[in-house]
Symmetry: C2
Subunit: 436 residues, 2 copies
């Protein structure tokens, strides 16, 4: 069967075609039968005159359950009265490739948890599908940019022999005669790629967090986007890369899906201008105080979600920009391997990127000098025995390097105005959710 | 510091530049000092006249351990006598970004296991690096092709609530109050994407096998490449897609790395012609017998590795082609969800793709009709209780579909003539190997 996509029907008026998809609606009238067929490109009306067709076919159509998978053959006819593209297909043949059971287990207004039980039916909604089309475009344009810049793609192991930086939230795996751990981040291994002289690397892959939270922002498995660059002079080089890269990606998304995203989710895709605004954490807190924000976190503390939202609003008012790099976090809120400012050892060469009120990514220059790294681990009270393999990466010549990482779903939620990570994840995983 | 890549030095003759990389060699002569610096683009000779430079600098250079990470500033001078590109850099400044300890733990001829202990040093060898440059090109060209064809990229969960098709070789994860399993394949979930109406999908991601083998071909975690297509008429459509896609990928690899692969590994990259030869399993066994091959597997058996090698040789002699699709495997050697031939229910609509003597991929049309799927599961004695979530994908209209999958390392090994999966994996994982 040569399949014609519904979006291409207008090029086949007067021709016999086969369309293949799902039964959206069956309308059985006295003299005619109507079907609406949905495929990945759109919807089409199919019509059959009862008098001109065999009884058996009429009965098959009457009995068709919505969501059955079918192949419809017929003539494409232009008819201005038809709402679906001014076209209809006059049915001459029908094959039920796979019937649906008569009662669908979910509807569009079913509770989210129920929709996830039947995720594949939920994903048949065109707005859900759009999320994953946008995800595909986001990832592809990220990779195009990396590729042009000479990045190497790496796949780091998800099975690890020891806990990484933090022992918390780790999943344990029965690994032959011992225990393995699931990677919470490719952090240490992307740094290994720097020590290996790979120059610039990226990875898009799963990470795992044994976090018992049920919030709309937490999950136990998600897709992490990670970047690491060598031979930088400071975290400024990392930010310069990240902003150009994100501006490229959002530009492509706007071009390819901007109208559809606005029509579907009511969110405008804005291709950001360069450079993104930058503000030190200290200055950001000053701005918050000046704006009358009354619960500014103390000097050794990170911003909390409400102050991130407030700061984004302030920056938006000042510069019109949706993005803000907040820089120079104190060592108290950063891991031991973030490089410290030579002129102020209490501050790190690190940043967060805020977007539309939330923290999108975290980045930093890393400490690449073995002795300093050991000293910083000791200073932060980090137990180094289990991470000696990581410290070893810095014993035989490591380049200055830095990078950033984030969850792909976080970007999609902001981009598409979605409130729940479950909506932008193909199959969500949480403490009570391992199915389907 | 504005860094100049070594490969770009010839455009900077007569200019002051900074190159950044690793110390390959230090040669301390009476009146001069030579360094060879290596970066990701090549190697360069650096020279210093002792009489014209401070003692302190001479001493720093004398004390430099090989593999230290350094930044060298100097004037680029053309000199035909210099083997490395007819250029040298006359040193004016040197920064040791990170010194190497004096004694390297591995050498080029160290045992493989030892080299993996110090994988980052092993990966500094340009031939090792080339493997991952080629991997990046392979993946990028795969994705370019998919993108042009309208595929959606999916990320299926690696944490699963129940064993998939086979309970063997599964890793168990302590998952809050219960047990989760690590995915051995995205098979069931890429089929879910078909039931969701995604049309055509791909995934490149990790899979896990609790296989206790230590062979050169086995590992416990590897990167799987998976493709699934809807609205096919038979497995022939899957093969037609796969051969065009692979021919594109190998064409790009040949163009971008062909010469370097041949120079480094002595292997020619051949961009295959279309179509690839096809032979039924039954016919393939007949060819083997005709060729005098004396241990042809019986009628209900798959080919074993020696007969795959023999068959590849026969096809190469017959048609000059490196690839062979072997089709129509009996149900005895295929999972229950492979569709059966309507005209011979003992055969499946399935195939293997052989390349240079080994099985590269396995593919099939899947059974999308719920009742048939149940019947086939019963026929094969499959316990369906734990996979009801999978069977449910077929209850509300599933399109005819099929696909294929394979380990990325398998392709790289054949492409680059590598004998051990450990060489083409960024960080190998095996029964005794969870570090680094």
């Amino acid at each position: 069967v040569t399949r014609t996509l519904i979006s291409e029907l207008s090029a086949h008026v007067g021709e016999q075609v086969s369309i293949r998809g799902w039964v959206q609606v069956v309308r059985d009238q006295k003299r005619m039968q109507f079907l609406v067929i949905r495929d990945e490109s759109g919807q089409a009306q199919v019509v059959l005159f009862k008098e001109e067709s065999p009884n058996e076919l009429n009965e098959t159509i009457s009995a068709l359950a919505a969501e059955s998978a079918v192949t419809v053959s017929g003539m494409v006819v232009a008819d201005e009265r038809v709402k679906l593209g001014g076209l209809e297909v006059q049915l001459s043949g029908l094959t039920v490739d796979s019937p649906a059971e008569p009662e669908l287990p979910i509807a569009a207004d079913s509770a989210l948890d129920k929709r996830i039980d039947w995720r594949y039916l939920d994903l048949r909604r065109p707005d859900r599908r759009l999320i994953f089309e946008v995800q595909s475009t986001v990832e592809h344009s990220m990779r195009e940019f990396w590729r042009k810049e000479g990045f190497i793609e790496i796949h780091t192991p998800k099975l690890m022999g020891s806990a990484s930086e933090s022992g918390a939230e780790l999943f344990k795996v029965e690994y032959f005669e011992r225990i393995a751990y699931l990677a919470q981040s490719p952090q240490f291994y992307k740094q290994m790629a720097m020590a290996a002289g790979f120059g610039k690397v990226f990875e898009i892959g799963p990470v795992f967090r044994a976090n018992p939270s049920f919030t709309s922002r937490h999950d136990t498995e998600f897709t992490s986007v990670d970047v690491e660059l060598s031979w930088i002079d400071s975290h400024e080089d990392v930010m310069t890369f990240e902003e150009s890269w994100l501006a490229y990606v959002l530009g492509v998304v706007k071009e390819q899906h901007g109208e559809q995203i606005e029509a579907t989710f009511g969110v405008e895709v804005v291709a950001p201008t360069l450079p993104f605004p930058r503000v030190t954490l200290e200055q950001a807190k000053e701005w918050l105080r000046e704006a009358g924000y009354d619960s500014v976190p103390g000097p050794t503390h990170d911003l909390d979600p409400p102050s991130e939202r407030a700061l984004s609003t302030i920056v938006k008012e000042r510069s019109g920009h949706e993005f803000t790099f907040v820089t120079d976090y104190p060592t108290t809120v950063r891991p031991f391997y973030h490089m410290r400012h030579p002129e102020d050892l209490s501050l790190t060469r690190s940043f967060d990127l805020l977007w539309r009120g939330i923290e999108l990514t975290t980045g930093a220059q890393r400490e690449h000098r073995y002795e300093q790294l050991l000293a910083q681990a000791a200073d932060k009270g980090v137990e180094t025995e289990s991470i000696q393999y990581y410290l070893d990466f810095f014993r035989f010549g490591a380049p200055p390097h830095g990078g950033f990482g984030f969850g792909l779903t976080r970007l999609l939620m902001q981009l598409l105005g979605q409130e729940n990570v479950r909506e932008v994840t193909f199959l969500y995983r949480g403490p009570n959710r391992l199915e389907p």
